[in-house]
């Protein structure tokens, strides 16, 4: 390679622009700037869209606060025809069904992730992972339909007064949240350096000891994220829950086992009632207000999960 002297380089730089005809260069430049501008717009569009969603929820939902006294939202009854907009039964329904789903899905999901990541032979993992992706793809309405037609009668047969209960909802929801929990937990396990495992095994630990004492602690933040996103998924689910929980907004007569009573969630309330309300009525605004609450809950859950992931990747970046 020949050495380029500074003088040659200056000459080169001065000569180069003149090789391309001026007009053509200008037009490429302008075209390129327009394209890059459009791409940048698309890039930041996500922020605008989320702001727009929130604005429209506020626009339609805030009037509810002027039309219904705050104390009325604390009412134990949700009975819009009589102007009762008690929010507690809906919140209770959502929390109960979500809690049940989490209790079911988190242990199953984490253990399945451990199986896939640490125990399953490669050929089996190659079969199981697409299967779990398929589960993630099954429309919630199909699972709701099966819950309604198959699971609910089974639960009734098992001794519950009705098959449409919080438990039925939790089972379906938990099943639906599994793919989310499994895939994120698996990523977390995968991110644990292989040296940790080799080190533990080399000093005589069994595979189980390695998983329990070395891999799991190292993957802790990832598993926490998995759980949080699973919760976020469960809170927002609508159709399946609406079909199998019985939709009774009632917290006055508790069953001995609260999971065996029909409940109504926030999402199901919106889905079931929005079609029948007059636009601009109090009921209409209150349904949007429920939407605001759902938006804020999922926003908080996802933002916290994203922050945990961000911290984790940053700390890993600095330590390695």
């Amino acid at each position: 390679m020949s050495v380029v002297t500074p003088r040659q380089r200056v000459l080169e730089e001065h000569r180069q622009p003149h090789q391309i005809p001026d007009e053509e260069k200008h037009s490429t430049n302008r075209k390129e700037r327009v394209i890059e501008f459009i791409i940048k717009l698309c890039g930041v569009s996500a922020i605008f869209i989320i702001a727009l969603i929130f604005l429209f929820l506020l626009r339609e939902g805030l009037p509810a606060l002027t039309q219904v006294a705050i104390s009325d939202f604390a009412d134990a009854r949700w009975y819009p025809i009589e102007g009762k907009y008690g929010f507690t039964p809906l919140l209770f329904g959502t929390l109960l069904v979500t809690a049940g789903a989490v209790i079911i899905a988190v242990p199953l999901g984490l253990v399945t992730a451990i199986y896939l990541g640490e125990i399953a032979p490669t050929w089996l993992r190659d079969i199981l992972k697409p299967l779990i992706e398929i589960l993630a793809g099954i429309p919630s309405i199909v699972l709701g339909f099966l819950g309604w037609l198959v699971l609910a009668p089974l639960i009734q047969k098992a001794g519950a007064p009705t098959g449409l209960t919080a438990l039925t909802g939790s089972l379906i929801l938990g099943y639906m949240a599994l793919p989310t929990i499994i895939s994120i937990a698996e990523d977390a396990l995968y991110a644990v350096p292989k040296e940790y495992r080799d080190g533990a095994l080399a000093i005589g630990a069994t595979r189980w000891q390695t998983i329990w004492r070395v891999v799991m602690p190292a993957a802790k933040t990832g598993t926490v994220t998995a759980i949080m996103l699973g919760i976020g998924r469960a809170i927002g689910e609508t159709m399946a829950v609406m079909m199998v929980t019985g939709n009774a907004a009632n917290i006055n007569n508790f069953q001995a086992n609260i999971f065996l009573q029909p409940v109504r969630t926030m999402t199901a309330t919106i889905a079931a009632e929005m079609g029948e309300v007059a636009q601009g009525s109090t009921h209409y605004s209150v349904l949007f207000a429920i939407g605001i609450v759902l938006f804020l809950i999922t926003f908080a859950v996802n933002s916290i999960a994203a922050r945990i992931v961000g911290k984790q990747s940053r700390s890993r970046g600095s330590s390695l």
Binding site: G43, A46, Y115, L128, I138, P139, I182, A306
Partner: protein, 281 residues
């Protein structure tokens, strides 16, 4: 109990739990196929429901879902691919970019019913589209964005940086480089992302409840300003709102919906596998 023994017991238990999770998936799909297969015929998937939906087929609902899926693609693709190019190629590592990424995570987390409310408030009422295919496609399109953006960005990032360096060093501009030497290699991955997003949109019910879905509408839509029936909502209607509904029709409808979604997912997976095999680097 020795450590050895504990290890064996733990392994067995973990395997059992994994089986409890995975086996029902096979069971659920097999069950729907067995229960629904009997009804499936060309006539069933093309003819309109009759006799209060208790007889006839699901033609209008299937067509509605196909139209909505196409509409979703038209809305989501340009925006999502643009955003993915921005994030992969242009975005500086700064506060704004972090907010964009956070916004995408949050868009993915917003419940589908809230998208439905937004679609009702913004498109149906504020922009005056009425309940229409247009409003439904816009709502589903926005809901699909995050999935498509993330997969498309991954596809673009997987193109080796050398491709860019070489192209730039030969005097191509940044956009020429992206257009001619990055996007062609990322296309299969982007397509995978788009189809995955569409498969999710095709099965969704909550976002279309107030924006497009018709309870019963045997006529086919004539323009994008018309309402239409859609498979997921139709399944909801015939399983909970119509008394005396024959279960074979319910299962057959569920099966067709499942097949539409699974075909899209399988297609996406095949594209991805072929892409990985074909990769020259």
């Amino acid at each position: 109990m020795t450590a050895e023994r504990r290890n064996n017991i733990a392994t067995i238990l973990i395997t059992l739990v994994a089986a409890v999770v995975v086996i029902p998936i096979v069971f659920v799909i097999a069950f729907v196929i067995i229960q629904g297969m009997g009804m499936i015929s060309w006539e069933f998937i093309t003819s309109a429901p009759t006799n209060g939906m208790r007889e006839g087929g699901i033609g209008p609902a299937l067509l509605g879902t196909i139209l909505l899926t196409l509409g979703t693609a038209i809305v989501a693709m340009p925006l999502a691919i643009g955003a993915a190019i921005y994030l992969a190629e242009y975005a500086p590592n700064n506060w704004v970019t972090r907010q964009v990424r956070l916004a995408i995570v949050n868009l993915a987390g917003i419940p589908s019913i809230v998208y439905g409310l937004f679609g009702l408030g913004m498109f149906v009422l504020f922009l005056g589209t009425g309940t229409s295919i247009l409003a439904g496609s816009l709502t589903l399109g926005l809901m699909t964005l995050p999935v498509v953006i993330s997969t498309a960005e991954e596809a673009i990032l997987s193109v080796p940086p050398e491709f860019r360096t070489v192209s730039l060093s030969l005097g191509a501009t940044k956009w020429q480089t992206i257009r001619n030497h990055v996007l062609p290699h990322a296309t299969p991955g982007i397509i995978t992302g788009v189809i995955l997003g569409l498969s999710r949109a095709a099965g969704e019910t909550a976002p279309i409840l107030f924006t497009v879905a018709a309870f019963y509408l045997p006529e086919l839509p004539k323009s994008i300003m018309d309402q239409t029936m859609a498979l997921p909502y139709h399944l909801y209607v015939i399983s909970t709102q119509v008394p005396g509904m024959p279960t074979e029709i319910q299962y057959a409808t569920a099966l067709v919906l499942l097949l539409v979604v699974l075909l899209l997912t399988t297609f996406a997976t095949i594209v991805r596998t072929i892409m990985r095999r074909r990769r020259e680097w």
